[in-house]
């Protein structure tokens, strides 16, 4: 099978897995303990790291843009710029990549290991659907928690920008002016923009990582290869879809004032 055929086959199989997973969401209430366990793991794995990286990303964004704005006497707009950047782009993309690295890779490793060591076959022999048992809880957990994580990252990243804006003598914008500017520029549509991306990315991460795990064959080495494959695939999907979602939101005038 050549690369082109393989690409289309994989895409078709992932879409099929997505449809089957959505179908099995009907069993979500009955399997709520599994969903909650996955949500707790996502939070446990990502919250501390999300706080750490978002504060520095917000700070770096302020540091890059603040001095440039001061040249034109526009430094008081820095709050709106940092918040817009976090809410629409950096928050959802960065958080999703963090989730891929911490959670998505673990999903692939766990499911890939189960595939290699016949645990998935054992589920099938017990008439337990692997998509219902393994994929659906992870799908729902990621779908639900990623938007909350993005809001968490946006708040902390915006705060990081506020700190740098206040203490850096080349920017020198106090907290009060910074946050007044955030309130002036940011609308709910900007938040919605980021949440739509977060939801789509959450779906893609869980489906891509679970799909690669389920397709793993061989031994421990192939599990490692699958993890790498899942991470790279997820990163590509996030970045590609980020562009197309942004394009669509512009067309729909969500969060855009022109």
């Amino acid at each position: 099978m050549n690369a082109v055929t393989g690409f289309f086959q994989s895409t078709g199989e992932m879409i099929k897995l997505f449809i089957e997973t959505v179908y099995w969401c009907k069993a979500a209430f009955r399997n709520r303990d599994k969903v909650f366990r996955q949500m707790a793991e996502i939070g446990n794995y990502t919250l501390p790291f999300a706080a750490l990286i978002s504060i520095f990303v917000g700070a770096a964004l302020a540091l890059e843009t603040g001095p440039q704005l001061r040249l034109f006497g526009l430094q008081e707009n820095i709050g709106g710029i940092v918040a817009t950047g976090m809410l629409r782009e950096l928050g959802p993309v960065m958080t999703s990549m963090l989730v891929v690295g911490r959670v998505g890779s673990a999903m692939t490793a766990e499911i890939g290991s189960m595939s290699v060591y016949q645990e998935i076959d054992a589920l099938k022999t017990m008439d337990i659907n692997p998509v219902r048992f393994l994929v659906m809880p992870r799908f729902l957990a990621t779908f639900i928690t990623l938007p909350f994580l993005v809001v968490y990252v946006d708040v902390i990243g915006t705060f990081g920008g506020a700190v740098v804006s206040a203490v850096n003598h080349k920017i020198n914008v106090p907290f009060g002016i910074y946050y007044r500017n955030v309130k002036l520029y940011i609308e709910f549509a900007d938040v919605l923009h980021g949440l739509i991306k977060a939801t789509v990315f959450g779906v893609m991460i869980s489906i891509a990582c679970c799909y690669v795990g389920l397709k793993t064959r061989g031994g421990p080495r192939e599990i490692g290869t699958s993890v790498t494959k899942a991470v790279v695939l997820s990163f590509i999907l996030i970045l590609v879809f980020d562009y197309f979602i942004t394009r669509l939101l512009i067309l729909l005038h969500i969060g855009y004032h022109f």
Partner: protein
């Protein structure tokens, strides 16, 4: 199942799980290839209800592939498999009968404890409303395999033989109509292998179920089988009782017996005089 488990099932289980019905398995002209490797070659086989049939053959002859077809993990290229006269691909088969498989690797779920592994089928299919009934079934099945004290252990804490016994307990907890064993004593030392042999012999005495066991271990086959089928180059070349197989003049069977006698430092005659 033992008397205690039957009692719990009778009083508390969903009606469809109370009775198990040992099934007849009929395989007709089964063919399967993987690339250019023709693994199963017009294979015919019949297993009677409640029978313990052992399929022996050299490595790579398709024994595990045969089991995977019966349990529905593989699709044949051609041929059919019937369970009590119903095509194995008919969804109604899964509604009426319960199949369990003990994998060569045990295939325990490493994120679950022993007790959770054994009870997984009961929980996922809501066989019991009462959690205590599930726990009693788990303890009863673990006691059949001699591991009741390991209920809260995780698989990584168990030896290979223990994992195999937990896998057997997990299969038993399903109250199955058909149990398949894939190389149950492979990768085990002789003493642990004998323990597994005894567990399986104990099953025959206490559990009404059809068993199909694939192995290259002629000693296991002669010890526990009602009948033995010899698989060579993708088809059954001989089938008979342990006594008939032990006295067989089939060159492959003779090779198995001679090699096993050598490995176990026995006389070939001890196999021929079994039973």
């Amino acid at each position: 199942m033992n008397v205690q488990t039957e009692d719990i099932l009778e009083r508390e289980a969903e009606p469809s799980y109370r009775q198990n019905t040992p099934v007849e398995v009929r395989i007709i002209k089964l063919n399967k290839s993987f690339g250019s490797n023709h693994v199963l070659n017009d294979l015919d086989l019949e297993v009677k209800p409640g029978e313990t049939l052992v399929v022996i053959g050299k490595s790579g002859q398709g024994k595990s592939v045969l089991l995977r077809h019966i349990i529905g993990l593989e699709e044949p290229d051609s041929g059919q498999i019937f369970i009590n006269g119903m095509d194995v691909n008919d969804p109604e088969v899964r509604n009426r009968y319960r199949f369990a498989m003990v994998f060569q690797s045990s295939a325990l779920f490493n994120s679950l404890t022993v007790g959770e592994n054994v009870s997984l089928y009961l929980r996922e299919h809501r066989v019991f409303k009462d959690e205590n009934a599930i726990r009693r079934i788990v303890l009863n099945t673990l006691s059949i395999v001699g591991l009741e004290e390991k209920e809260n252990a995780i698989p990584s804490e168990l030896s290979g033989g223990m994992k195999k016994r937990v896998a057997i307990a997990r299969a038993l907890a399903m109250n199955p109509d058909l149990i398949l064993f894939d190389e149950p004593t492979s990768e085990l030392d002789p003493i642990t292998a004998q323990t597994i042999d005894d567990v399986m012999l104990n099953l025959r005495k206490h559990v009404k179920v059809t068993q199909i066991i694939v192995t290259h271990d002629i000693d296991l086959a002669l010890y526990i089988a009602d009948r033995i089928a010899v698989l060579d180059e993708g088809r059954i070349v001989e089938i008979g009782t342990p006594e008939e197989i032990a006295r067989s003049t089939n060159p492959l069977v003779r090779e198995f017996i001679v090699r096993s006698a050598k490995e176990n430092k026995k006389e070939v005659g001890t196999y021929e005089n079994r039973g």
